[in-house]
Subunit: 376 residues, 2 copies
């Protein structure tokens, strides 16, 4: 691992080191079994260890029947979403369905406006908020148990809570945890209070499905929660979806060559996958003889992580690719087909979401409750 | 001057040096004459140079007929108000009356909660917000042209504007301007954005009557206003009301021995004034012989600044005190009478304000307009 923070992920990522450094626990077979008691099956993202680490997931499961919990995740609306952005929402929706719990989705339009490297106008962040919310809704959340809110709008209802959090956090801390400097603007310096606040939206336990780069927020949350008379949040944390360019870093909107966007058409997906980093050999002859390396092959990794849910099938693909029985071109074609199927289905669902935005943001059962609540 | 910032005023204050250091202009006879063209008379606080410095007041007056302007001031609800807190509101109300303009009054409940030295709970700041608002309304503002708002409530309507401001201000700047350190909490670091925001509530010129310790906010405002496509705010800045203890520092709620509070009863005022620092001689004989020094006498200074509006009378008191014709006890008795008259009238007005809070904060003409407006 080179660098990892909410605003920077670079280099080869050593997830074992992260678990150790960040003080997380691995999602092992034991906790997977415990999960299965409630969920029956396990989501492919859990089976394939894309969600690899947690904090207090064991407590959440132990207390579930007595106390319940709620889910909290979010999205920074900095541009169009790619498949790496959507996957956590697919997983969160699965958790909502299995446990029948409320989901809070924070749209950090303020953060994306304040991040200097983004160079987004406020209007840009509003446009992307709307576009991203359509993608999120398309995943299939329960419209009466899900509240999607933009910070710049919902701030009135949780600013009081945010300043209580802010009072516990000084500049030294955010400088060391987030790498802020003297040049960081005072809006971004304050922002961590706003990302932490929703972990206290209910008195129940909070479970956060998020990618590991958000972990610094949760470490602070857990440091200060009890001094506010509140509960430490639990996490279930994912790896990054690898970029098209290979095993380093993550899919990133700011580097479009690394990502497959949700609105990429079939032909674009085809072109991108054909350019993607491959673990195959340079010629068919060599490939048949030596076989490919699935561990570094972007197509195989996409199939393994998410797009090929059938456990037997994926193992067969792995073996056949390793042996040379499957050629690189064949693996690419299969991946293109799988991704395009997924995107086509997603876009069909997205078409139906425009008249649902009101529900999720303002008029659904949970949304209404939330607009009538001042968090303190 | 030793120290001067919004959160610290100590020592003997050298107002001439402040004018130079802060880049202000003195309120001279020329601008007073210009003011009188509109106001006919001059408020005692102007005649006696309590309001002593300005920025762009000349432009405000030149453009008044063409462009108009609005007034903006505020209050940090950290405790009961003393006479030093009320005087700026008396002056602001006078300006409103003379120019028939809108007034915005920011109640910085967030700031007072976030200031660590205050040790106020959030509930404390809410209690003091309410109590202070009653005192402010009692001054006699126009209920349809005055909007009193608490930051924690109105934040929704101006957070977007605040983050646009915040994006222009980095930690270096607030560290040097406000003396923030690595230990400062991230809520207080963000707060300057919120104090600056109301200077942009209308497209008209903004005139800020405030005490000079708030000047750092306005210097930043003027540095960034044009890059936001907005106008630099004008100021009319006051000295501090001297504390009961003498010519150093200011009346301060955190040092109750320095201040006369608006709810001090007649007997308390008497006791405090009798203890107040005097420019008189230790015995009647010496006083008759040598006379007193009005320049360092707290009673004379209170009369001069505010409580004796009659210009001839105050000069006679000055001469008679200097000559020894007025004894210290007599001066004190006169001051007690004047202050108690003022406080009695204030408290009578305050009694009538409880049913007006709604108007000023939510239902008056300007308040309604403001609640329907998102500042961007």
């Amino acid at each position: 691992m080179n660098k990892i923070s909410p605003w920077e992920v670079e280099g080869q990522i050593d997830y074992e080191k992260i678990i150790k450094d960040f003080g997380l626990k691995i999602i092992d077979e034991k906790i997977k079994e415990k999960l299965k008691e409630y969920t029956k099956d396990l989501h492919v993202l859990l089976r394939r260890n894309f969600y690899f680490a947690h904090r207090d997931l064991d407590i959440i499961l132990e207390e579930y029947e007595k106390e319940g919990f709620f889910l909290y995740t979010g999205r920074g609306p900095s541009g169009p979403m790619h498949i790496g952005h959507l996957i956590p929402f697919v997983f969160t929706k699965w958790l909502q369905e299995k446990f029948d719990v409320n989901v809070y989705i924070q749209i950090t339009d303020d953060e994306k406006f304040l991040e200097p490297k983004r160079k987004l106008s406020f209007e840009d962040t509003q446009k992307w908020s709307y576009e991203n919310i359509l993608d999120i809704i398309a995943v299939g959340f329960d419209e009466n148990k899900t509240f999607i809110f933009k910070n710049t709008e919902y701030i009135k209802n949780f600013y009081t809570l945010a300043i209580k959090i802010a009072k516990k956090i000084n500049f030294s801390l955010v400088r060391s945890v987030f790498g802020f400097s003297n040049q960081t603007n005072i809006g971004l310096i304050f922002f961590p209070s706003l990302e932490i606040a929703p972990t206290f939206f209910e008195e129940k336990y909070c479970l956060i499905p998020a990618s590991i780069d958000q972990d610094p927020f949760w470490r602070i949350q857990r440091d200060i929660a009890e001094s506010l008379g509140k509960r430490k949040a639990a996490q279930i944390s994912s790896k990054f979806l690898i970029p098209l360019t290979g095993m380093q870093g993550k899919m990133s909107t700011s580097k479009p060559e690394t990502a497959i966007f949700l609105n990429d058409d079939e032909e674009t997906v085809r072109k991108k996958i054909y350019k993607a980093f491959s673990g195959g050999q340079p010629t068919v002859e060599l490939h048949r003889k030596l076989g490919g390396n699935p561990e570094i092959d972007v197509c195989f990794q996409y199939l393994y992580t998410f797009f090929e849910e059938d456990d037997k099938k994926i193992e067969k693909i792995r073996e056949d690719y390793k042996s040379g029985a499957i050629l690189t071109g064949e693996l690419k074609e299969y991946t293109i087909k799988k991704i395009n199927e997924f995107l086509e289905k997603h876009r069909k669902e997205r078409e139906k979401t425009k008249n649902k935005v009101e529900k999720f943001m303002y008029t659904g059962k949970l949304a209404q409750e939330m607009w009538n609540k001042i968090h303190a």
